[in-house]
């Protein structure tokens, strides 16, 4: 009969063996020796501990005899099931992996070992708290459950959420909402069915939940290994200034341009491109205009509406400034622009100006790449 201690040492020995073999095979040369020797040492030490434990505890048949059991109240009962040894073994394994690969695993190993130690201590104490097994069981679960339940729940939920996120990142953009909706509906219907039948057995609910979780987690694992869907990268004014001026630079069209709730109301002005004509509308000033007065200091939001037949973006040309503080004059022509907007779409641009028009060598303008003859002026007093 194996006691929990023997099980741990046996497991650790086996792991040390595997680790030694893997490490020895994968690491050649000078740095490999030290590690291999250390691992062989650990393997031998653990094997010795296993042997000692096996002979002194597990093989000590007289201690298992009925007579003695009756007189030794504390040892009277077989140890209860315990998850601690396995947990400790996992912790050790994580330590080993972490030492070899990433520090995060090592830290995780330390954490798991600590948890295992706490669990082990309390279980061991609980087994000897009194001569009453039922009471002992009650006492140790009272001590442990306030920790176990939240921890296991957090870990379990974390796993489920992480798996779900992998699933959502794997499927393509148009599939994601469908999956999301279907899963949500399933949970709702399932919940309703269970709630409407109070006589359903707990084991059945547990079973369904377990199967669903298992399915989700394995799907998540598979999709995590397969990797995320390709996420498109588009040039920005910072990475490629030409994107704001050349209409052909980036063909991606943003289909969900107006992003925030705020963007549906109270813009500074509205810039519209229609039939190749560009115009700006401000509140109170009737009709389309070619200039707009923007004050400096304030954060402005311009709304751009594309009523043209092709996808358009709009560009803010924020003047020309010469900076001669470093000795040689450097001329800067700051720009900002949006992504391409499909016909009928709107987009929002937030910006703040600190310099008046008078400080700039060229006027502040609004342009649309691809329409070269139309320029709107921003007057900044």
């Amino acid at each position: 009969m194996f006691t929990t201690g023997s099980k741990l040492f046996l497991g650790a020995t086996a792991l040390a063996l595997v680790a030694t073999l893997v490490f020895g095979a994968s690491h050649g040369g000078e740095p490999g020796y030290l590690g291999t020797i250390t691992l062989i040492g650990a393997l031998l030490a653990l094997a010795a501990l296993t042997a000692i434990n096996f002979f002194t505890r597990d093989g000590n048949t007289p201690s298992m005899e009925q007579d003695i059991t009756r007189t030794a109240a504390a040892a009277a009962r077989a140890p209860r099931r315990s998850v601690a040894p396995v947990l400790a073994a996992v912790g050790v394994a994580l330590l080993a992996i972490g030492a070899e690969t990433r520090p995060a695993f090592f830290k995780g190993g330390v954490l798991v070992l600590l948890v295992a130690a706490a669990e082990w201590l309390v279980t061991a104490w609980g087994e000897r708290a009194s001569g009453d097994a039922t009471y002992n069981a009650a006492v140790s679960s009272r001590m442990l459950q306030p920790f176990q339940f939240p921890l296991v729940a957090a870990a379990g939920l974390g796993l489920v959420i992480y798996s779900f996120s992998r699933v959502m990142l794997w499927i393509n953009k148009s599939g994601a909402p469908v999956i999301f909706g279907v899963l949500g509906a399933l949970v709702l219907v399932g919940g309703y069915l269970l709630a409407s039948r109070p006589d359903v057995k707990t084991s059945m609910i547990t079973g369904i939940a377990a199967i669903a979780t298992l399915g989700l987690v394995s799907a998540g694992a598979v999709m995590a290994i397969d990797g995320q869907r390709t996420i498109e990268k588009h040039p920005t004014p910072a990475s490629d200034p030409a994107v704001c001026t050349e209409s052909t630079k980036d063909a991606h069209v943003d289909k969900r341009a107006p992003g925030s709730v705020a963007s549906i109301s109270s813009p500074t002005a509205i810039v519209v491109v229609k039939d190749g004509k560009l115009a700006v509308y401000s509140q109170g000033l009737r009709g389309a205009r070619a200039d707009v007065t923007i004050i400096r200091g304030a954060t402005n939001n311009l709304l751009f509406r594309n009523d043209d037949h092709v996808a358009r973006r709009f560009t803010l040309n924020l003047g020309t400034f010469t900076d001669s503080s470093s000795g040689t004059p450097v001329t800067k022509k700051p720009q900002a622009c949006t992504t391409l907007i499909e016909p009928g779409g709107e987009v929002w641009k937030t910006f703040r100006l600190t310099q008046p028009s008078a400080a700039s060598a060229t006027p502040y303008t609004i342009t649309v790449p691809g329409i070269s003859d139309q320029v709107l002026t921003m007057v900044v007093p």
């Binding site: 500074t268 707009v292 400096r296 008078a358 007093p381």
Partner: protein, 418 residues
């Protein structure tokens, strides 16, 4: 139990009739008090919400007066009912009433009645809401920007407003100059926190929310000056963030626009010339004076964004054409000159206002105090330690530690900025 318990048939805690009389007197006193209160309003309060001086405020007034009257009548009815009940049903040793929870029908009546009454108020309310939100009949647009703790006005380039429109933007602060009898639309923005623009005699208030542009209709029936205050709590000097609207008749407004857009006038007086240099050395980094050039002839552009959180400071190109300063709190005019302008008859007001501030009428004391140590006069977040703790940015004007003669020079210069 041996304790002596008063019989419940007699109220254990008893009221003497004298006290009940006192209560009635109290009620009567309250009612009289309310009447006195209504009669006891101040006359000519500059920000009275019941004295509209323009179309928009008048729509509000027409809406709110009946509501106040109805509320008053209902209030008096309730007081009278309670008063009567208190007198009629006080404990005079009468029989205990029968224990019933009453008839529901007595509830339905008032519910239906009050619903109908509220509907009667609701319909004109909704109509007025949409009427006050209209922007299509605008004749003149002004961008109004709030910042700690003053208002800036920018007249954008537009065809309307003045005869021939506004060709180049005008920037002023504190006092908003508008043509009277004209639909002016204020486009309200903010440079830092939320403020609220409120000229009670012209319209209700509208918040200046950073990142948003809100509109407010303003129209004055007659030339004159209309006071207002920032009404959204905006920090330390919220109480000292005021503003006025000066409405001029159209001809004088056109003159005002011409003056504001005129090219820079270099000072001719020697004192003012010295002052210009002192101003450039100490004030120009934040305060813009349009068209002013340095000794090399290069135009001087202020850079308040380097020194102030809000990124702006009042434009002083035509300081003496307005008659308040520092958040429209202090007068640039001496009390006598001020009264002459502020209490002028509508037909004379425009002319007097356009005269601006002359040397004789200048309230030099407050201006001098302000330039000497602004944060001492108006609490702002601009002490050296505060600026240092905030990446070198100030909120409000710091103490520039100017000497008295420098201050005199600056005033000599500023007085020429009409």
């Amino acid at each position: 139990m041996t304790r002596n318990i008063p019989s419940p048939e007699v109220a254990p805690v008893h009221d003497s009739p004298r006290r009940v009389t006192r209560r009635r007197v109290g009620l009567a006193a309250t009612a009289t008090g309310l009447l006195v209160a209504l009669a006891g309003c101040a006359r000519n309060a500059p920000q009275d919400t019941f004295q509209p001086a323009g179309e928009n405020a008048r729509s509000i007034d027409n809406l709110q007066r009946p509501v106040f009257y109805i509320a008053g009548v209902i209030g008096i009815l309730v007081f009278a009912a309670v008063g009567y009940i208190v007198w009629r049903f006080k404990d005079r040793g009468q029989e205990l009433p029968i224990q019933g929870h009453g008839k529901p029908i007595l509830e339905i009546g008032p519910i239906v009645l009050s619903a109908a009454l509220l509907l009667g108020i609701g319909v004109p309310t909704v109509a007025t809401v949409f009427k006050l939100a209209k922007t299509s009949d605008t004749q003149c647009v002004v961008i109004v920007t709030g910042q700690q703790w003053w208002w800036e006005y920018t007249y954008p380039v537009q065809p309307g407003c003045a005869a021939g429109g506004i060709k180049q933007p005008i920037v002023t602060s504190g006092q908003l100059v508008v043509p009277a009898k004209t639909h002016v639309l204020a486009e309200i923005q903010s440079n830092d926190v939320i403020h609220s623009y409120w000229i009670p005699k012209l319209n209700g208030k509208r918040d200046a929310v950073p990142g948003r542009t809100h509109t407010l209709r303003l129209e004055a029936d007659q030339p004159g000056i209309y006071s207002g205050q920032c009404t959204e709590f905006c920090g330390l000097s919220h109480a000292r963030m005021r503003m006025q609207v000066a409405a001029l008749d159209q001809a004088h407004f056109d003159t005002w626009v011409t003056n504001q857009t005129a090219p820079y006038q270099k000072p001719t007086d020697p004192a003012a010339i010295t002052g210009e240099a002192t101003f450039q050395a100490n004030c120009s980094r934040c305060h813009q004076v349009d068209g002013m050039a340095d000794s090399a002839g290069k135009p001087i552009i202020s850079q308040p964004e380097l020194y102030v959180v809000s990124g702006s400071a009042p434009n002083l190109s035509h300081l003496m054409s307005r008659n308040t300063f520092a958040g429209a709190v202090w007068d640039l005019l001496t009390p006598a000159c001020r009264d002459k302008v502020w209490h002028a008859k509508p037909e004379e007001f425009s002319e007097l206002y356009l005269q601006g501030v002359s040397r004789e009428c200048l309230n030099e004391k407050d201006l001098r105090d302000w330039i000497r140590d602004a944060p001492a006069k108006k609490p702002m977040y601009s002490s050296d330690a505060q600026i240092a703790s905030n990446n070198g940015l100030s909120r409000g004007m710091p103490n520039l530690k100017l000497k008295d003669d420098q201050i005199s020079q600056i005033i000599d210069y500023l007085v020429t900025r009409k």
